[in-house]
């Protein structure tokens, strides 16, 4: 039953993306209201899915790679809904939708959900550690999206011949500011997540520890470079995209190493 909620959420994200693409291409894009509603509907369906899953697991539903991917996609939408409209980042939903759609499809079509309800260790520090870390990834995911939007808008401005999308994208300065704030939100959440990890009485694989700390350090360095104006906003945007892809790629490895140690 809960799978249908996930499919419904995925379809909402697909609709959000397809509608905005169509509206921008045909010049009918007026506001992001429909896009926002579709994202909110998808978020509600995904929340229902996670709630039902949590009831069955009797814990926060972040115990398998399948659940981790869904929780990550949920975190990205949550942060988007919290900050996107506040910063008038009207088209951010259109850029967020394909990413969360892609994550949901991976979770749905891959054989990751073979063991839906594993026995889990009930530990509030563990749940906090994983949940905060995944929400941090959500923040980094949105920083990556703001980075993509920055690069698109910069290209439009530098070309001297802006297209229709140019008029719907937020000002490039706002995108730069949003990118910085999202990186900071992600970094704070990741720091808290890692700190919660230190309260666990569980052994940690060296490789997992190194990868987690490495990602934390890279984001720390990016923020430092940003603060000292050592890198141009364009390079900062590109870095937030590259590092998020790197973090996303290492996520399954971190999850597998965690499961191996728990066993």
């Amino acid at each position: 039953m809960e799978r249908y909620w996930l499919i419904a959420a995925t379809l909402c994200f697909l609709f959000s993306f397809a509608y905005t693409l169509y509206a921008v291409a045909t010049g009918k894009f007026r506001s992001a209201r429909i896009n926002l509603l579709a994202m909110a509907a998808g978020f509600a369906a995904q929340t229902t899915f996670l709630y039902m899953r949590g009831q069955q697991d009797r814990s926060c539903p972040i115990n398998t790679l399948f659940e981790v991917i869904i929780f990550l996609s949920w975190s990205i939408v949550l942060i988007y809904l919290l900050i996107g409209p506040a910063y008038h980042l009207s088209l951010m939903g259109a850029f967020t939708a394909p990413l969360v759609f892609f994550l949901n499809v991976i979770a749905l079509v891959s054989p990751l959900n073979q063991n839906p309800h594993p026995k889990v260790l009930l530990n509030p520090w563990l749940e906090m550690h994983v949940a905060l870390s995944l929400m941090a990834y959500g923040g980094f995911g949105l920083a990556c999206i703001a980075g993509v939007m920055y690069l698109v808008q910069e290209r439009q401005l530098k070309s001297g011949r802006p297209d229709t999308i140019f008029y719907h994208l937020p000002p490039i300065s706002d995108l730069n500011v949003a990118n910085g704030r999202l990186l900071r939100i992600g970094f704070v959440l990741l720091t808290l997540g890692l700190a919660a990890g230190f309260f666990l009485k569980l052994p940690v694989a060296n490789a997992k520890f190194a990868v987690s700390l490495g990602i934390w350090a890279i984001y720390g360095i990016i923020l430092l470079l940003r603060k000292t104006h050592s890198l141009a906003p364009r390079r900062m945007a590109a870095l937030s995209i590259i590092v998020f892809i790197l973090a996303l790629v290492t996520l399954p490895a971190i999850q597998m190493l965690s499961v191996a140690v728990k066993r």
């Binding site: 808008q153 011949r161 802006p162 008029y167 000002p171 300065s173 706002d174 104006h229 141009a232 906003p233």
Partner: protein, 344 residues
Amino acid sequence: MNILCAGISHHTADVDIREKLAVPDHHMDAVLREVREIEGLSEAVVLSTCNRVEFYAASICPARAFEGLEKYLFNRTGIRAPLYFHDSPQSIRHLFRVASGIDSMVVGETEILGQVKQAYASAHGRGATARHLNKLFQHAFRAAKYVRTKTRITSGPVSVGSVAVDLAEKIFGQLTEKKVMILGAGDTSERTARSLQSRGVKSIIVSNRTFERAAALAEEIGGMAIHYENWHNIFPEVDILISSTSAPHPILTREKLAPLIKARDDRPLFIIDLAVPRDAEPELNELDSVFLYDIDSLQQIATQSLAVRQQEVLRCEQLVEEHVTEFLAWMRKLHGGYPAGAES
């Protein structure tokens, strides 16, 4: 009852005729009263803008009303203006087109709707309108809003000044805290600076080889003049640079600006080069956070927007037609099933 429209516009008359027919605010009272005294004419609205002077009226006898109006205008101005006369339904269609911006000099401009609203309010306030024109103008406002929402008739900027403002807002967002520097006190740079000023830029600094010209322009636009030799010192604080000097070679070179840009802490710089020959080296656009636009690229964007608007005109006409049909249906219902003008 018929709806009539008589007048001149930028399509039919030059400015020297339009200015003679124009009805200033302080004459509006008298003109509305005199027009309604014309035989066969009841309600009246006068729309007088820089691009058109039009009289809208309700009448039971169009031929006599047109004749009377023509005579009245000749007596008032002393000239035989090339007036156009529209009876229903063409008059209704014309007003809806005017209010929607389809008939404007710059297609899709939005100022006209405000002017139509003001003309109606002025006539209504003086008791010059009744059931027919009240309904007609309310319908015109609805039609104009509908056309703007459903089409791209107002999309994109269509003048160098508005393109510059749009680009500046897409670079900086709010312009209220931004500083503008004008290099070379030309007409286009002054107009562009004024457009930016209308969006609330914080301050404008003017620099010119002849200091007196810089000072005169600065005084006119409420800015500050500086000596040409000193513009480099102010440059790191500037967000928008408008250049239109008559220098025969580029004065804004990559070599000169690159070190100054480093001191700006990644703040974007928008360079508007209005000079021919150009003041800024094209290579400046390759620098991080620098956005360079010359006169050609600004004009190209304006032309592009205008082309988009022109393409939309056909769709707008179709939407206007729907509203004309709706209004005519209301007229028929009001007059017991007779088409407009059929009953006496």
